[in-house]
């Protein structure tokens, strides 16, 4: 038996494979995340067609869905909510049991409201609305996905 080498070849091989795997994994993850962050991805679900079209016609068309609908405090909070929402939405999309008008559930309302204030806080700062416990969207809920911006109804073709 030969003298034992401190780093035999297969260790280098394993290390190389490990690094390569990690890089590929990160690329796939980053690519996937970047792809799934695009409104076109959100709009590819049947249930999202109406909100997607109304958003396109709105004054907020240059922002993505996640800009408003996901927490922007830190990446972990964002990924957690995105993952949880994604799984729940996929579940209902597969079952096709969603209603015609989709409403916020859970913390969605708080998240969106916080994101309004990320940009618009200065507008309410000098008013009584800044005292907290107010919700922007209890009044402005039809602002982005408003009714009447695009033709609704059932189409016959």
């Amino acid at each position: 038996m030969d003298e034992k080498k401190p780093f035999p070849l297969h260790v280098f091989k394993l290390l190389f494979l490990g690094f390569a795997g990690a890089i590929v994994g990160m690329l796939v993850f980053a690519g996937g995340l970047s792809y799934a962050d695009k409104p076109t991805f959100c709009g590819s679900c049947h249930s999202m067609q109406h909100v997607y079209t109304t958003w396109q016609a709105s004054s907020h068309q240059y922002f993505t869905c996640g800009d408003c609908h996901l927490p922007q405090d830190n990446i972990l909070a964002k990924l957690y909510v995105k993952g949880e929402n994604g799984m729940r939405h996929t579940y209902h999309e597969v079952l096709r049991d969603y209603p015609d008008t989709i409403f916020f559930t859970g913390t969605a309302n708080t998240i969106v409201n916080k994101n309004c204030l990320r940009c618009h806080a200065y507008i309410v700062a000098p008013t009584a609305l800044a005292t907290g416990e107010q919700s922007c969207i209890s009044c402005h809920r039809n602002f982005i996905h408003g009714r009447g911006q695009v033709e609704g109804g059932v189409k016959v073709e």
Partner: protein, 424 residues
């Protein structure tokens, strides 16, 4: 180990394959497929073969539903059981014999036949809003059908209010076929052929859920909208004796020439808060639903309180309970005032009757009293005959009932003056 890996991989592929297939590869249709139906086909079951989702939802109309608030609804009880004043106010009119709550579109013909208000002498005008066959009747002979025998026309009609009353069979576009509605709007300068889709979503209902009268002689159905939709404007219109029309009946005791109001639902809702803001009848009464992802219009035509989530919450987010309380509150208030108005009107009939028996009574003052009572009864009946129990236009309806009570009291004061009583 390998077997486990293969199993895991195949389960994953199947799982994600299923998701991909359901979510992206095979989507629910985003439009309804048009399957034209031949003109003159009125059988709803045949339409249902091509439009099963809408047809199935319309079948719920057959299971008559009680009203969620207890007012009106689709159970055919006699209205006079809850409002005995109807016997007095409609004395001498067929409505005192039989005045049931309506059961809905599938029963339109059947209940017409069984109504005690109908006799062998009844005229074809009554069928105008009971069947899509009105299209043929009118195309064949214009309004002449209104003077034919009702019994004959019912035999020819076959189907009650159904798909073809509101849909063009070849394009599925909304349409109105009641000539009286088309003529009434035309007199107001509105061409129904140029109406927007949103307007049509109310017109299809309004073509029948409206006040009307039969023109003397021809029995042609006329909607009294020339001066406007409010009870005050319609009363003013009737005061012009349109087409020689004076009254629906003369009260046998008080000798008052009276009008009978017929379900002015379109008039009330189009002048009410929702109507003024462009909300159509169908927006609330036929909300959008989804079945396996496909959007459709509910054809269960009923109280929106049966579908609060689909009908109300797209705009009002206060929650079902608060919304129910809001509607119930309006209806409770309107009902109480409607009973007060109805009983005051009944009392006025009694007072005028007694005053008429006094030989020395001032005839001119008695006639004035009858005119006041005619108006009072019209205002009460305009609210009482409608289906929303005040909801469609609560402010106007409560105001109208208030006027009714005042006018009925004025009628009694005038009748007393006619016989020289209560002159102070």
């Amino acid at each position: 180990m390998q077997k486990v890996l293969v199993l895991f991989l195949s389960v994953s592929v199947l799982f994600f394959g299923l998701i991909t297939a359901r979510v992206w590869a095979v989507k629910p249709p985003s439009a309804m497929k048009l399957i034209p139906i031949s003109a003159g086909e009125y059988d709803p079951a045949l339409w249902g073969k091509s439009y099963p989702i809408e047809y199935n939802s319309s079948q719920k109309n057959i299971e008559v539903a009680p009203s969620p608030t207890g007012y009106n609804g689709s159970i055919n009880y006699q209205k006079a059981e809850r409002q005995p004043e109807l016997y007095v106010n409609f004395k001498g009119n067929p409505f005192s014999k039989d005045y049931t709550e309506d059961r809905g579109h599938p029963y339109a013909l059947e209940d017409l036949l069984h109504s005690k208000r109908i006799s062998p002498a009844s005229k074809g005008a009554c069928i105008t809003c009971k069947t899509p066959a009105i299209e043929q009747f009118y195309n064949q002979s214009g309004w002449a059908f209104a003077n034919e025998s009702l019994a004959t026309l019912v035999q020819q009609a076959k189907h009650p209010v159904t798909c073809a009353n509101c849909h063009n069979p070849e394009t599925m576009a909304l349409r109105v076929i009641n000539p009286a509605f088309i003529e009434a709007l035309s007199r107001k300068g509105v061409d129904v052929n140029k109406a927007s889709r949103q307007d049509m979503r109310s017109y299809v209902c309004g073509q029948c859920h409206a006040e009307y009268y039969f023109a003397p002689g021809t029995n042609q159905v006329v909607l009294p909208w020339d001066k406007g939709f409010t009870p005050q404007e319609i009363y003013e219109y009737y005061s012009t004796k349109p087409n020689g029309f004076l009254q629906d009946f003369i009260h046998p005791d008080s000798q008052t020439p009276l009008l009978k109001a017929q379900h002015p639902d379109y008039e009330e809702s189009s002048t009410g808060t929702h109507g003024k803001f462009g909300i159509s009848c169908a927006d609330c009464h036929m909300p959008y639903m989804r079945s396996s992802g496909q959007k459709y219009t509910s054809h269960w035509i009923t109280s929106p309180l049966h579908t609060v989530k689909e009908s109300c919450t797209p705009c009002h987010t206060q929650g079902s309970e608060q919304l129910y309380d809001q509607v119930r509150g309006i209806q409770d208030n309107t009902w109480q005032l409607q009973r007060t108005a109805g009983t005051t009107v009944a009392h006025a009939h009694d007072v005028i009757t007694k005053a008429s028996d006094v030989p020395s009574a001032n005839k001119e003052e008695l006639d004035n009293a009858r005119q006041l009572l005619r108006q009072a009864q019209w205002y009460w009946d305009y609210v009482a005959a409608a289906n929303s129990q005040g909801f469609h236009n609560s402010v106007l309806e409560l105001h109208t009932l208030g006027q009714s009570i005042d006018l009925a009291n004025q009628a009694m004061i005038t009748a007393n003056r006619a016989v020289g009583k209560n002159s102070l």
